[in-house]
Subunit: 352 residues, 2 copies
């Protein structure tokens, strides 16, 4: 094991002293290196081991020696992260699906004709066993009914209200508290070394954008997700607004992830993190680029601290976050990095 050193040799004190001469200097102008160093040792919640070492080696190889073969110019440093199951808890059910189920009563109040119609009737019954049996098609119908038809501003307000109160049943905490501390440290470490960090999620782009800045430090324009179209129009006072339409533009899962990356970013990532078959093509696409590329999968093998699932480890398969044997074999064959939550992480959540 090599010792972990701060990412650049910059003299932080000298730099901060100079910056202090500009009293109203926007925070933007303070080099990210200085800010990250203030947050302590990089990857502090990681145990020493091959996963941590691979991440550190990649960052060094791509950022430390201009002119070296692996060096990546700052403007090309793109890192992409799946969200559900990679940055935060996805079990027992994606939080956005919980949001949509919770929104059903309000939608039915506005459209009473849905009250006795499946799948809305099932959701309103509150019968958990029946709700768990809803088909993918039923879920899609619920998603479209609860995520479209309102203005983007109304949607943002509703989502914010829900995020401020809804809690995960196991920890009795807000969903936004259930991010993985070690992954937050990876985001910070990459950004401190000039990487632009993106979320590339199968979840709804507009939903994740509501909290990505405050939860992950990732601005809305760096969130790529499953996206529906909007429609421009005017209210009665002639003020323009956008309405969310039930028209799918991008299904940001599987092959949709590299396609979405091309659409929204236009560059191939140098690093990609995922945890399921939905991330396979993103990692393949990342790995197909020249030079050093970091391809990482998170294996949920820690039932005590979080969950254990995925047939790759003989663990139960589930409806969310499938880490199949096929994905495991491809990862091994291609030398992708697999994080074991149980072995590689000192702690899982910041609140622990």
């Amino acid at each position: 094991m090599k010792r972990i050193v701060p990412p650049t040799g910059i003299d932080r004190r000298t730099l901060l002293a100079a910056l202090a001469t500009a009293p109203a200097l926007p925070q933007l102008l303070i080099p990210t290196t200085a800010r990250a160093q203030g947050q302590g040792v990089p990857l502090a919640s990681w145990n020493d081991g091959p996963a941590k070492q691979t991440i550190v080696d990649f960052v060094r190889a791509t950022t430390q020696q201009q002119g070296s073969p692996g060096f990546v110019p700052p403007e090309e440093r793109i890192a992409t992260f799946d969200q559900d199951g990679t940055l935060w808890v996805e079990h027992p059910i994606y939080s956005q699906v919980v949001y949509c189920l919770d929104r059903v009563p309000a939608v039915v109040a506005q459209k009473p004709e849905l009250k006795d119609v499946a799948p809305f009737k099932t959701v309103l019954s509150g019968n958990r066993e029946e709700i768990a049996k809803l088909s993918l098609h039923d879920l899609e119908e619920i998603l479209f009914a609860t995520l479209t038809g309102m203005s983007v501003d109304e949607f943002e307000a509703e989502a914010n209200k829900w995020l401020a109160s809804a809690k995960h049943p196991r920890w009795n905490r807000l969903y936004t508290d259930l991010t993985y501390q070690p992954m937050r440290e990876v985001l910070q470490y990459l950004r401190a070394n000039g990487y632009k960090t993106y979320i590339v999620t199968g979840g709804g782009q507009d939903f994740v954008r509501v909290y990505s800045q405050r939860v992950y430090g990732i601005p809305p324009e760096q969130v790529v997700g499953t996206a529906a179209g909007t429609k421009y129009g005017y209210d009665k006072d002639g003020k323009p607004f956008l309405t969310k339409e039930p028209k799918l533009l991008l299904n940001d899962n599987d092959a949709g992830k590299p396609e979405g990356i091309h659409l929204m970013i236009g560059r191939r990532p140098y690093a990609a993190f995922g945890n399921s078959t939905g991330d396979r093509e993103m990692l393949e696409y990342t790995g197909a680029g020249a030079g050093a590329r970091l391809k990482v999968l998170l294996l949920h093998d820690d039932a005590a601290r979080e969950y254990a699932y995925g047939p790759a480890q003989g663990l139960p398969d589930t409806r969310v976050g499938t880490f199949t044997q096929g994905l495991f074999d491809e990862a091994k064959a291609k030398g992708w990095t697999i994080i074991s939550m149980k072995q590689d992480w000192k702690r899982v959540f910041a609140f622990e």
Copy 2:
């Protein structure tokens, strides 16, 4: 007229001296303020007048006094620019359309069955009068045939080759030389004050991304344009690649501009620049936000140095860049800023 001062009070020499202690410091870490100051006085190619003053006042109001009512936090500083006719010459015909016409022989060589079929036959004839008469539907057919069906890497290589050789007939210069120097200065000035500058163009997103970084300093991920889908697949060696598909995802004109801004950026701009009816909704949407918002239209009224067109000034209407009387009236009624190329710009091109 107030005197124009550098955007912040930062002591540049002290700062640069400190930064010099870090030999391999990525360019990224050098505050944009220092870089912009090295490029001289902001807006040097602008004559004093209301257009320049409005831009300067807007930047001051939104960036200089944290806590003041107009102040915009750095992360929310988004400025969007139409490209054709706003950042570079669009007459007598959009450069991307020239590219597509130039590509027709290569497409026909691969698909000989198109040789005797309209509109390809017309293009191959080289008859300029007939080509000028092609309908919008004909043009769309040519665009799809020449912009889709190849891998994104092949397209990028072809576009780069063309951009390095094709010349505008009037100036006998590369199209990328025909950017407006005063608008380049606006881009720099906004960036020096913490604004993230975006192109929001009716032109092809992939086409503009090929040169946006080197020509405007705008990275590919900050180009929003008319976009078709791609399809993920594998070559015979199992290496993944993306193919450009003839499936329109976003028509980034008119109402498509605010819709595209929501899709790709997810924030309302604070400043928007355009020059035609295709930019109307982008400016309306920008203006509908709270606080100071800059809405600017460029009027082409300078036949001597560039072109004069647009019925708003009794100038001829054309197939490209229509500045109608209706747009002019809306701009006046809403207090939008109109740049007169003839009166407001000391020079038009950098090569002059």
